[in-house]
């Protein structure tokens, strides 16, 4: 893992001290809310429905056991015993007092963490494939590049006040687990034609009010040119992105309005000017950062096979929640934060502590956070899987449902978020309870729920998406079908008229039942059936009685 150098540590320490002073001046009345709001947002502090919310950055979703224990400590000491892992691989606390937040940031700095640039119109926390550095299908670990981007983008003087927020995602595999085509910039690390590492660069993806999938603007960017090319993209956006209308300010609108080809031409022109300047990445620097992410010291002693006769639940968990590792004798483990009927992405302090213990003992001290609101133990010896399973069972996190219909993404929704129009969490809980008895029969199916048009719950790319809206003061839900955030990315289609809070769960069940009746064989997943047959049979089932 990356470790702070003296510059990083001093930078975070100074920033924490600065914010402590700002909070003190706000509480004393020296600063008004109008003066304070942009300052607190730059430090991840929102004022939500019930209380302040603190959003903490987890760069490329990687945590050590020590860092996870610190998050548990903060949850227990300053919050109400729970943290919420988000679709940006961040963690949110929903109940901190403003007066406690400087102390929380001080505690985070002790473990090389902070909340800087988790809000505001700047380059946000860089996300990455949550299996990075471990996946068997990976060309190379994308995290060194995510770290290089983090260092370049932190308080970048030219890009600290962009037209709107800016999100970068990186993957090093053909199978896109980082949803790069829904990012402002999506980077696909791969081997170029000459055999060297480089990037395919996708620009202008995003969800929200106007969803777009990213466009490919360069397929062969050498790794040494990564930062100069990103700088060129950001410069074109900063110059031409709209600042007069918040709903049209994201880069996706600019790329759409100009056209990808014209946008790319402007980027290339700017890039030609700067590509051989100070942003050229020296190989020594790439190697220095890469060394932080060197493969860990795997235990290569022969291991006994896991006890396959340990029970059906363990077998399900092995089938669904373990994944191929690049190192023989090891597996990647997904810890589902989606117990049946549970709150997607929530973990109690006790659960966080227990996961930290498991990571320390069985996963070479590493934990990952996924954009699907689960956790990952990336480096588990095959012979330790039973012990890991038993450890997760003890804390209620052993559900073998990764990728199944109960593994639902849901934003905080109207239960917490000041922007939301409708609740997401209770809908997710009810769908989970309703469909859990059939989840193995249903197979791969991703449901994604957002409580407002901002789409933090990724409803546009759900196989089944749900969007909460407000209709005459009450909650209402639109149903969307056929989206995907993976390498076969697609935006979902609105099925038709929406449903009330009670009706939306029935509607989802109707879609699922229709799929089970129509699939060509039990191995044909929902998305394949939908793409083969189109929306009509599902709409017929949903609205036949209307």
């Amino acid at each position: 893992m990356y470790r702070y150098d003296e510059f990083d540590a001093e930078f975070v320490r100074q920033r924490t001290a600065q914010f402590r002073d700002q909070v003190g001046r706000r509480l004393s009345g020296e600063l008004t809310e109008d003066e304070f709001k942009p300052l607190r947002l730059r430090n991840g502090v929102y004022l939500q429905l019930h209380a302040y919310m603190l959003r903490i950055a987890i760069p490329y979703g990687t945590l050590s056991s020590r860092q996870m224990r610190k998050l548990a400590h903060i949850a227990r000491t300053y919050d109400r015993g729970t943290g919420h892992f988000t679709t940006r691989q961040n963690l949110q606390f929903n109940w901190p007092r403003l007066s406690d937040i400087p102390d929380i940031l001080g505690e985070l700095a002790e473990v090389e963490m902070h909340a800087i640039q988790t809000s505001g119109n700047c380059i946000r926390n860089v996300t990455a494939d949550h299996f990075a550095g471990a996946a068997a299908d990976e060309v190379a670990d994308p995290r060194p590049y995510a770290e290089i981007i983090r260092q370049w983008s932190s308080l970048h003087p030219e890009f600290n006040w962009l037209p709107r927020k800016f999100k970068v995602g990186v993957t090093g595999s053909e199978h896109d687990r980082a949803a790069i085509k829904t990012h402002d910039i999506g980077l696909h690390l791969k081997r170029l034609a000459d055999g060297r590492l480089g990037f395919a660069v996708w620009v202008g993806g995003g969800q929200g009010r106007s969803p777009f999938l990213a466009e490919l603007i360069r397929d062969d960017l050498p790794e040494a040119d990564l930062l100069s090319y990103l700088e060129a993209i950001l410069r074109v956006y900063n110059l031409h992105g709209r600042r007069d209308n918040i709903y049209k300010a994201r880069i996706k609108i600019l790329v759409h309005d100009l056209g990808a080809e014209a946008f790319a031409a402007q980027v290339e022109e700017e890039w030609r000017r700067i590509r051989d300047g100070v942003l050229k990445l020296p190989q020594a620097e790439i190697d220095r950062i890469r060394a932080y992410f060197a493969p860990p010291a795997y235990d290569e002693r022969p291991v006994p096979a896991p006890p396959r006769a340990a029970g059906r639940a363990f077998d399900r968990w092995i089938t669904r929640n373990t994944h191929a590792h690049k190192q023989a004798g090891h597996a990647i483990v997904t810890i589902s934060l989606k117990p049946i009927g549970g709150i997607p992405g929530d973990a109690s302090a006790a659960q966080m502590d227990a996961v930290a213990d498991l990571a320390e003992r069985y996963s070479l001290d590493e934990v990952r956070v996924t954009h699907e609101q689960n956790l990952v133990l990336p480096h588990v010896r095959s012979g330790d899987l039973w012990q890991v399973y038993r450890g997760l069972e003890a804390i209620g996190l052993a559900e073998g449902n990764a990728g199944l219909v109960t593994d639902i993404i849901a934003c905080p929704g109207l239960d917490y978020c000041a922007l939301a129009n409708a609740r997401s969490i209770p809908i997710a809980q009810r769908i989970s309870e309703r469909l859990s008895p059939r989840q193995d029969q249903i197979g791969d199916l991703k449901i994604k729920i957002s409580g407002c048009i901002n789409a933090c719950g990724h409803h546009h790319v759900g196989h089944i998406g749900i969007l909460g809206v407000e209709k005459r003061g009450e909650e209402h839900y639109q149903l969307l079908l056929g989206g995907s955030g993976a390498e076969d990315a697609a935006l979902a289609d609105i099925a038709g008229p929406g449903f009330g809070p009670e009706g939306i769960v029935d509607a989802v069940e109707k879609v699922v039942t229709t799929y089970l009746e129509l699939r060509s064989n039990p191995q044909e997943p929902f998305l394949a059936t939908y793409r083969r047959l189109g929306a009509t049979p599902f709409k017929d089932a949903l609205y036949a009685a209307a």
């Binding site: 706000r26 509480l27 009345g29 008004t32 809310e33 709001k37 947002l41 929102y46 004022l47 939500q48 429905l49 019930h50 209380a51 302040y52 919050d79 109400r80 015993g81 729970t82 929903n94 109940w95 007092r97 403003l98 007066s99 927020k165 918040i246 117990p339 009927g341 549970g342 709150i343 929530d346 109690s348 804390i395 209620g396 109207l414 239960d415 917490y416 978020c417 000041a418 922007l419 939301a420 129009n421 409708a422 609740r423 969490i425 209770p426 809980q429 009810r430 901002n454 933090c456 407000e470 005459r472 003061g473 009450e474 909650e475 809070p501 009670e502």
Partner: protein
């Protein structure tokens, strides 16, 4: 003729130091329970509440106060918008999930309905007013 109770308003905001939901009370204090809120029944009274909110905001007693539409039903003040009902009740998560500890001290034990009981009382004709803008910040 509408069967709905006429809408009135209370002034609400968040407390500065901890962000908790508060309402302007009859004695000028900001209280956590909507039952203690002073009610504006005329446009003039609503304006007076807003003026008081602006003063208290300037004095850092409350953050971003705004009027929330309510109705009086069976002697209780019930917000018209679902958003405001959630602000009063706290998160409406299903708190009977095994092993889950509710983060909200105000959430009751057991499964809370999606306010369908209240909705029938508040909105029998399926009609209502359009949402009133409230202060929010971009995600």
């Amino acid at each position: 003729m509408s069967k709905r109770a006429p809408s009135i308003a209370v002034l609400t905001g968040n407390r500065l130091h901890d962000g908790l939901v508060v309402f302007l009370g009859g004695d000028g204090a900001w209280v956590e329970d909507i039952a203690g809120a002073v009610v504006a029944r005329t446009p003039e009274e609503a304006s007076a509440l807003q003026a008081q909110g602006a003063r208290d905001s300037a004095l850092n007693r409350v953050v971003e106060p705004y009027l929330a539409e309510v109705r009086e039903i069976a002697g209780r003040l019930l917000p018209v918008r679902q958003r405001e009902r959630v602000r009063i009740d706290g998160p409406s998560i299903l708190v009977d999930v095994p092993g889950y500890v509710s983060p909200s001290p105000r959430a009751p034990n057991g499964v809370r309905p999606l306010a369908s009981d209240l909705r029938a009382s508040l909105n029998p004709g399926g009609e209502g007013s359009d949402p009133v803008p409230v202060p929010v910040e971009a995600a």
